[in-house]
Symmetry: C2
Subunit: 413 residues, 2 copies
Amino acid sequence: MKKRILLAATMLLFVTATFAQEALFSGRGAIVSPEIHPDNSVTFRLRAPKAVKVQVTGDFLPTQNIKFDNGMSYDAPGTADLVEKNGVWEYTTAPLASELYSYSFVVDGLTVRDPSNIYMIRDVVSTTNVFIIKGNPGDLYSVQNVPHGTIARRWYNSPTLGFERRITIYTPPGYESGNKSYPVLYLLHGAGGDEEAWISLGRTAQILDNLIAQGKAKPMLVVMPNGNAGQKSAPGEDEYGLITPNNPFAGGGSGARNTQVKFEPKSSYELAFPDIVKFIESNYRVIKKKSARAISGLSMGGGHSLNISKEFPDMFDYIGLFSAATITFDMGDRQDNPIYQNIPAKLKTQFAKNPKLYWIAIGKTDFLYNANVEYRKLLDEHGYKYQYFENEGGHIWRNWRIYLSMFAPMLFN
Amino acid sequence: MKKRILLAATMLLFVTATFAQEALFSGRGAIVSPEIHPDNSVTFRLRAPKAVKVQVTGDFLPTQNIKFDNGMSYDAPGTADLVEKNGVWEYTTAPLASELYSYSFVVDGLTVRDPSNIYMIRDVVSTTNVFIIKGNPGDLYSVQNVPHGTIARRWYNSPTLGFERRITIYTPPGYESGNKSYPVLYLLHGAGGDEEAWISLGRTAQILDNLIAQGKAKPMLVVMPNGNAGQKSAPGEDEYGLITPNNPFAGGGSGARNTQVKFEPKSSYELAFPDIVKFIESNYRVIKKKSARAISGLSMGGGHSLNISKEFPDMFDYIGLFSAATITFDMGDRQDNPIYQNIPAKLKTQFAKNPKLYWIAIGKTDFLYNANVEYRKLLDEHGYKYQYFENEGGHIWRNWRIYLSMFAPMLFN
């Protein structure tokens, strides 16, 4: 009888995964990849008997500085060659520092995911596999055995933009079962991102769960909207369907796929932001005070945070600019968006109201570094108070996770 | 000045996607794949200049019947060859019927995702790309311009099992802003699945949003728990970290990766189920009556629905068995789980209480077909009332989405 039970169980398991062909037919000698060794070196493996050349590319390898015609450059993840034995290709790294890392395989020039690793993240229009090396900060980005907050994907109405929009909301452990009111951090993504960026690439829920459990951050809601005024949602989540957005870097392409701007907004994202605050404060148990509201964002979202906080100087007491696009300040002649008008007077008003924290963070090799130098010079000239943090590296998620991990503990104290 | 703004915008877009190498360097002649033509034929494309053979495998191609030593067989998705031109491989299907389809490429024996398509679903331990052909039922599985419910991933306490567990909850449009109380459908996954299965593979939110908007289903909560008593959550969502579970079909492998059972439950899943109902009824505005509770599931989850509803005969008025593992009824000699004891008496009690709907659905080529024939014979012998639906096909998600689309409209009328 036992055998029969086992057979039945096996059958059930088996046919549930009709599409799991890879799993089914890759055979009994299942490959483990990535394998993280006790010394934090990592072995990557890929079964590809017919391949001529297999490489791994990832942000744990020495970067390659790529220069463009226009003088810009950026640090591309490095590559390493795998070596073949019995049809299985393999590469082992040196011991790695604690981090969340991304990688892909390149098989005879074709970039592919690791079929042995189900963990992937999407960044704009491409996906990579991920793994975490334990320690600091890897542990902060990992799910720990601590109380967990709730992550909700829902829709709110934005009368100012003219349509309903999707939004991601983290409520802290205990929110649903209690009756306390909480402060709110509005956390904004960069260009090309959407309401999924911070919760997936940014590991927001894990960082907040862990900081709250350690007593390092106050329990708070984290609200992650879609920062593209012409979008309702992340790709695939609105009536445009499962259309892969145009690669914003490749230019051209089929018009039908250019989904960066899909709907006609009646206003700018910045000026429509009070719709979001109103929605949160009407639908959640939150503290409706300046001292209980924070806004921060990365890159374009840093520019959003800068502008929204100056347009609505009574709204936020905590402002965080992560690798921010302060470069928008060079565009004082733009007449189409009122947020670019009367900037000095608006900043004067904002800082006269003494925000509790105005935090600027950027990496030394960030392409927006000089723009941030200029912006800080402007603040310094007027004696506006801010705090500044500078670290290694450029315009990458590794830094934005670090900045969130530093910013959240400074809030609502 | 305009040029400068454009440059700045381009820079921002550019560097945000540090990992988007594929997107960056696959060049200006971006490939569109899959391309769905007006006649619903579909072209797949892959740039792989060095490949010798490229195939596409998917559930829209004629299936291949695969037989195993033990006499079992299953219908594997078919394959088709792509043809190369200037380094780009291409294949166009015949016009396809409306459906949500899955596919992968096979490049010289290596199964890979389509790099031009960001939409993927995970089924147990493998991921495939997906696309939808419009019409019926594809439109029902698509996001439409209708009011959207909220999807929450949160944690509940199961004292009976002995730990906190992750759960996915759909609340219907209007739930959060209103004060009405709603009925609840508990929707259970199959073996190998978890609390992500129905919301991703099953398209539950889209189906419910659309059925509710059409007035075909009552607004209801849908609760999707993790049905593996020894798990807290889907892979990657608990403190086991980003460990890819063992391929349940391949056997063997590294013990560290065998995460099918990770925690020691103090009870069976079935007997612990009231913890979930209690959690929902303590934390949500729901109607706490038998007539406002439904339970259904696929495969193993169908077996769960059968057993839970008979163990707690006052709990559910609507029971749905989708391709259910009624085969567990052959295991009357199991002494370790009380749910397998006194089955005839328990069924007698359950049916004496006249559940409003006992719905059994299965495909003609499902490997559990005969077990369902046996089970229906048992119900018939005692005159227990049920409704029965039979269609083409086997033990596949295509059928389970159909069954959900049929079952939900029959509830709470």
